[in-house]
C-alpha cells in the first residue's frame, strides 16, 4: 500500500465526491478540492467561518459547507466557481444540514430541533417541517431518493411522516407504536420502513411504504434493547444488534427471526478463525459466517505488525463497562452486510472500531480503528456454494 503525502484537514471533513473524481477537504474555513488521481488542487473556496460540516451533492456538482455556530450554510459549485449560495438561518440557529437526494434541496435542522427548513436551490422556496424528533436517526432517505421518512414527536407520541422528495409533499403520516422512537431506516428496495424503539424497550416495527404496520418484533423485555439495525442489500434480511451482545436476523417474508448470533467472550466454534495482531491487539467481533484466510495488516505509522492465527479456544479481552452509567459500552453497536448478503460483520463490545465497511465486490472488509486501519480480504474460492 502506498501513501501520499499528508494533507491538512480539520474536523475530519474529508470526502470523495460521489462520482469518485474529486476529493474535498476542509482546512479551517477553506474548502480544498483536489483531483483524486493527481491530488492536484483544482478549486479553493473560502467560507465565512470555520466549517463544521461539509457534504457533496449527489451529482458531484455542488458542495455544501455548514457553519453551525454562525448558522450559515454555503454552497459551492464545481463547474462554476463563481457561483455562490449562502443560507442564513438567522437567530433560529442551526444544528444539522444536509442535501436532499436530488442534490437541489438543503435540509437544515434548527436549534432544539424546532423545525426542518427545506431550502430549494432551484426555486429559492422554503418549506418547513414541524416537530422533527431529535433521536439517533430521525430522518432517512430511501435509496432511490424518492421518499423521505421523518420521525416526529407530538404530544408525547411518535409519528412518522413520509415525504415525496420531488416536491416535499407529505405522502403519509402515521403514528408508531413505540415508546420513544430511536431510529428508522428504509429497506434498500424502498418498500419497507424499519422503526425501532430506544434502548429501554426492545421493539422493532416494520411499516410498508403506504404506512401499514407489517410486523412487530420484540426479542425480550426489560433489559436494554436494540443498539443497531441494518438491512441486507437484497432487502431480504434485517439484522438487529442489541445490548445483550446478540445479533438477530429477521426474514422479509414472515418477519420472524431466522437466525441468532452470539458474541461469546470465549470463542470455541470450530469454524471460527481468530486473527490476532502480534504487536497490538485490535480485536474484532468475530462473525461466525465468514472464513478469513489472509489478512494484511498495516498501520498509518509504518510499524510492522503481523497477524497470526490463534488456536481455539480464544479468550477475547472484555472490559466490563460500568453498569451504573447510561448507554453502556456493551452490545452490538455496528453491523455491516457484505454486498452479496452472504456475510455479516459485527462489532460487539467496547472495542475501538469506528466503522466497518465492505468493499462493493463483497470480498473484503475494512475496519477503521481510532489509530489503525485493517483490511480483511476473504478468499472466496474456498467457499462451497
Amino acid at each position: 500500500m502506498n501513501f501520499s503525502e499528508l494533507f491538512k484537514q480539520s474536523n475530519q471533513l474529508c470526502k470523495v465526491s460521489p462520482d469518485g473524481k474529486y476529493l474535498a477537504t476542509c482546512v479551517q474555513y477553506r474548502l480544498v478540492i483536489r483531483d483524486v488521481s493527481t491530488l492536484q488542487i483544482l478549486q479553493l473556496y473560502t467560507c465565512l467561518d470555520q466549517i463544521t460540516h461539509m457534504e457533496w451533492a449527489s451529482d458531484s456538482l455542488f458542495i455544501l459547507c455548514a457553519m453551525y455556530k454562525r448558522g450559515l450554510v454555503q454552497v459551492w459549485s464545481l463547474e462554476q466557481p463563481d457561483w455562490h449560495c449562502k443560507i442564513d438561518e438567522g437567530s433560529i440557529g442551526l444544528v444539522s444540514s444536509r442535501w436532499s437526494p436530488d442534490g437541489r434541496h438543503i435540509l437544515n435542522t434548527t436549534e432544539f430541533h424546532l423545525r426542518i427548513t427545506v431550502w430549494s436551490l432551484c426555486t429559492k422556496a422554503v418549506s418547513y417541517i414541524k416537530y422533527p424528533k431529535a433521536c439517533q436517526k430521525g430522518t432517512d432517505f430511501s435509496r432511490d431518493g424518492c421518499y423521505m421518512a421523518l420521525a416526529e414527536r407530538r404530544d408525547c407520541k411518535d409519528y412518522v411522516s413520509v415525504f415525496v422528495c420531488d416536491d416535499w409533499h407529505l405522502l403519509r403520516h402515521f403514528e408508531t407504536e413505540t415508546q420513544d422512537l430511536a431510529g428508522l431506516e428504509w429497506s434498500p428496495n424502498g418498500c419497507v420502513l424499519a422503526v425501532w424503539d430506544s434502548c429501554l424497550e426492545y421493539k422493532v416495527l416494520l411499516y410498508s411504504l403506504d404506512g401499514r404496520l407489517l410486523s412487530t418484533y420484540s426479542a425480550y423485555e426489560w433489559s436494554l434493547g436494540v443498539k443497531s439495525v441494518t438491512w441486507s442489500p437484497s432487502s431480504q434480511f434485517l439484522a438487529i444488534g442489541s445490548y445483550d451482545e446478540k445479533v438477530r436476523i429477521l426474514n422479509h417474508i414472515t418477519w420472524k427471526k431466522i437466525a441468532q448470533f452470539d458474541h461469546p467472550a470465549t470463542i470455541n466454534n470450530a469454524k471460527a478463525v481468530v486473527y490476532k495482531e502480534v504487536e497490538r491487539r485490535t480485536a474484532v467481533g468475530s462473525d461466525d459466517l465468514s472464513l478469513h484466510n489472509i489478512t494484511i495488516g498495516t498501520t498509518l505509522f509504518n510499524t510492522q505488525s503481523k497477524y497470526e492465527i490463534c488456536p481455539l479456544p480464544v479468550q477475547i479481552p472484555v472490559v466490563k463497562p460500568d453498569p451504573d452509567r447510561a448507554n453502556p459500552k456493551i452490545g452490538v453497536s455496528t453491523l455491516a452486510f457484505s454486498s452479496d448478503s452472504r456475510y455479516l460483520a459485527t462489532k460487539n463490545g467496547g472495542f475501538q472500531v469506528q466503522s466497518l465497511s465492505w468493499h462493493g465486490s463483497g470480498d473484503s472488509l475494512i475496519l477503521l480503528g481510532k489509530e489503525q486501519l485493517c483490511l480483511c480480504f476473504m478468499d472466496t474460492d474456498q467457499e462451497d456454494k
Binding site: S58, I87, S91, C122, T123, V164, H169, D210, P323, A326
Partner: protein, 568 residues
C-alpha cells in the same frame, strides 16, 4: 427261721405300711404298687440269702451302716439295724419326695416363667417390628422432605438470581432514565436561555437565502406546482412501487412453490413405489392394494391437471394429505422392519458371536500351543532341560524297563529266598553228608575199633548232636520259606558249638534288612558257586551283597573249620 420270717413279714408288710401313710403322694403310688409286687418277686423263700446280701449291698452303697455282714451267718440279721435302715430309708424317701415336690413346683414356676417370657418376647418382637417399620417410614419421609428441601433451595436460588437480574435491569433502566432526564433538562435550560436571549435581543436576524442564480433541477425537468393532480400522481407512484415489489416477491414465491411441489410429487412417487414393491411381503395386502390404487388414481388425477389444477387449494390439500399418509405408512413400515431386523439380527448375531468367540478361542489356543512347540524346537534349550530331555524319546521304554526291573526284582527276591533255602538245604545236606561221612568214618572207625571196646560215649554224644541237628533239619527240608527257624536252629547249634565270632560280621554282612531279619547271624556258606548263581542282575546292591556273602562264606568256612577242628 424266725428272722427270715420276720424279715419276710417286714418285707411283705412294708409295702402296706408304705402305702397307707404315703397315699397322698399320687405319683409315687403306682410304682410303689409295682414295687410291692416286684418285692414279692424279688425275694422268695429260696433266695433269701441273696436278697439279703443284695439289699445289704444296696444299703451300704447308699451310705447307711451295713445291715448284714457277709462273714456272719446267713440267718443272723440285726433287726435294729434293719429298722434303723428302714427308718432311714423312709426318711430318705420322704426327703426325696419333698425335694421332688419342690422341684416340681420349681419346674411349674419356671415353665410359667418361660411362658411368660415367651409371651413378653413375642410382644417385644412385635413391638420391635412395629417400631422398625415406623422408623423406616420416618426415614422415608425424611428423605422425601430432604429432597423437597433441596428442590426448594434450588427454586429459591433461581428466584434469587432472577431477583438479582431484575434488580440489575431496574438499575440500568433507572440510570438510563436519569441520563435522559438530565439531557432533557440541559436542553430545556438551553432553550430557556435562548428564549431569554431572543427576548432581550432586539435585532432579530431573519432567515434568508442568497443565491447568485437559481440552478436547474437535477433531472432537468421543470418543477411543478403542488396540485391535487401531483398528489394523486405521487400516490399512484407509491402504490406502483409497492405493487411492483409485491409482484416480484410473488413471482419468486410462485417459483419456490413450484419447486417444492415438484419435490413433494417426487417424494410421493418414491414412497408409493417403495411401498408397492413391498406389497407381496407385507401383511394386510388387501388394505395396501386399496390405498395404492387410490394413490395411483390420485396420481393420475394430479398429473392430468398439472398445470392449472395444482394451484387450486383443493388439489394442494389432497397432495399434502396424501403425502402425509404415505409418509406415515412408510414410517410404520420401516419401524416394523427395523424391529424385526433388529430382533432377528440380535438373535442371529448373538449366536454368531458365540460361535465366533468359541472358534476364536480354539484357534488362539491352537496357535499358542503351536508357538510354544515351535519355540521349543527352534530355540536351543539350556543344559538342564537338555539333560532332562536327552532321553525323552526313551522315556516310555525306560518306564517299561523300570517296571520290568521291578518285576524282575521281585522275582529275584523270590529266587534269593529260594536260593537261600536251597543253599541252606545244600549246606545242611553237606553237613549231613559230612556228618554222615564222619559217622561213617567213625562207624567204620568204631567198626574197626569195635574190635576194641573204647568209643561208646563219643558216639552217643555225636549221635545226640546229630540227631538234634537232623530233627531241626527235617521239617525244613521241604519248606523253602521260614529260614528263621533254620537260623534259630543254627544259632542254637552254633551257640552250643562255636564262639560267636560271626556276631562281628553280622552288622557289616547284612546292612540290607530286606532279605534276612535283623540280629541274625551268618549262615555258613560252603561254595561260591551257589552265590554266583544269584549274581545275574546288575543291581548295585547285589555285587556288594555278593562280596559280603563271600566274606561270610570265608567266615563261615573259618567257623566250619573251627567246628571241624572242635568236633575233632
Amino acid at each position: 427261721m424266725p428272722e427270715s420270717s420276720l424279715v419276710r413279714h417286714l418285707h411283705s408288710s412294708s409295702p402296706e405300711c408304705r402305702t397307707s401313710p404315703v397315699r397322698h403322694f399320687s405319683r409315687s403310688l403306682l410304682p410303689q404298687h409295682r414295687n410291692s409286687s416286684m418285692l414279692s418277686t424279688f425275694c422268695t423263700e429260696h433266695n433269701v440269702q441273696d436278697c439279703l446280701s443284695h439289699i445289704s449291698q444296696e444299703i451300704s452303697s447308699l451310705g447307711f451302716p451295713p445291715v448284714w455282714a457277709v462273714s456272719a451267718s446267713p440267718s443272723e440279721l440285726s433287726v435294729v439295724a434293719v429298722l434303723n435302715c428302714m427308718y432311714e430309708l423312709i426318711q430318705l424317701h420322704r426327703r426325696n419326695i419333698q425335694t421332688l415336690e419342690n422341684m416340681e413346683m420349681e419346674q411349674l414356676k419356671s415353665s410359667s416363667e418361660v411362658d411368660f417370657l415367651q409371651l413378653t418376647s413375642t410382644r417385644l418382637k412385635e413391638q420391635l417390628e412395629l417400631s422398625r417399620r415406623e422408623n423406616a417410614g420416618l426415614l422415608e419421609r425424611e428423605r422425601q422432605l430432604q429432597l423437597k428441601v433441596k428442590s426448594l433451595q434450588t427454586c429459591l436460588k433461581n428466584e434469587k438470581e432472577e431477583v438479582q437480574k431484575l434488580q440489575n435491569i431496574i438499575a440500568s433502566r433507572a440510570s438510563q432514565y436519569n441520563h435522559e432526564m438530565k439531557r432533557k433538562e440541559r436542553e430545556f435550560n438551553k432553550l430557556k436561555e435562548r428564549m431569554n436571549q431572543l427576548l432581550v435581543d432586539k435585532k432579530e436576524k431573519k432567515q434568508a437565502i442568497d443565491v447568485l442564480n437559481s440552478i436547474g433541477r437535477a433531472d432537468g425537468k421543470r418543477s411543478l406546482w403542488k396540485t391535487g393532480k401531483t398528489e394523486a400522481k405521487h400516490e399512484g407512484e407509491m402504490y406502483k412501487t409497492l405493487l411492483s415489489d409485491y409482484d416480484t416477491r410473488q413471482r419468486e414465491l410462485v417459483l419456490e412453490n413450484a419447486e417444492l411441489r415438484k419435490v413433494l410429487q417426487q417424494m410421493k412417487k418414491d414412497m408409493v413405489s417403495i411401498l408397492s414393491s413391498r406389497k407381496p411381503t407385507l401383511k394386510g395386502d388387501k388394505h395396501k392394494d386399496d390405498c395404492i390404487q387410490a394413490d395411483s388414481e390420485e396420481e393420475v388425477f394430479n398429473s392430468s391437471k398439472e398445470s392449472v389444477e395444482l394451484y387450486c387449494v383443493h388439489a394442494r390439500e389432497k397432495l399434502t394429505t396424501s403425502i402425509r399418509l404415505q409418509w406415515r405408512r412408510l414410517k410404520s413400515h420401516v419401524e416394523r422392519l427395523d424391529s424385526q431386523a433388529s430382533l432377528a439380527q440380535r438373535e442371529t448375531r448373538k449366536e454368531e458371536m458365540d460361535r465366533l468367540m468359541l472358534d476364536l478361542q480354539q484357534c488362539k489356543d491352537f496357535i499358542q500351543t503351536q508357538e510354544q512347540l515351535l519355540q521349543q524346537l527352534s530355540s536351543p534349550c539350556d543344559e538342564e532341560t537338555a539333560s532332562l530331555l536327552s532321553d525323552c524319546y526313551m522315556l516310555q521304554e525306560k518306564e517299561r524297563l523300570r517296571e520290568e526291573w521291578g518285576t524282575l526284582e521281585e522275582q529275584r527276591k523270590i529266587f534269593e529266598r529260594e536260593r537261600k533255602t536251597f543253599t541252606d538245604a545244600a549246606i545242611r545236606l553237606s553237613h549231613e553228608r559230612k556228618a554222615f561221612e564222619e559217622d561213617r568214618a567213625t562207624w567204620l572207625k568204631h567198626q574197626f575199633l569195635n574190635l576194641s571196646p573204647f568209643a561208646d560215649s563219643k558216639t552217643s554224644q555225636m549221635s545226640k548232636s546229630k540227631s538234634s541237628f537232623l530233627i531241626s533239619v527235617e521239617p525244613e527240608a521241604s519248606a523253602a520259606s521260614a529260614p528263621e527257624k533254620l537260623i534259630r536252629s543254627d544259632l542254637d547249634f552254633h551257640t552250643h558249638r562255636s564262639v560267636p565270632l560271626t556276631t562281628q560280621s553280622a552288622g557289616e554282612l547284612y546292612p540290607t534288612p530286606c532279605l534276612i531279619p535283623e540280629n541274625s547271624l551268618t549262615k555258613p556258606k560252603r561254595e561260591a558257586a551257589h552265590v554266583d548263581e544269584s549274581s545275574i542282575f546288575c543291581n548295585g546292591n547285589i555285587p556288594a551283597q555278593h562280596k559280603l556273602w563271600k566274606n561270610s562264606e570265608d567266615h563261615c568256612s573259618h567257623s566250619l573249620k573251627r567246628e571241624k577242628n572242635s568236633s575233632i
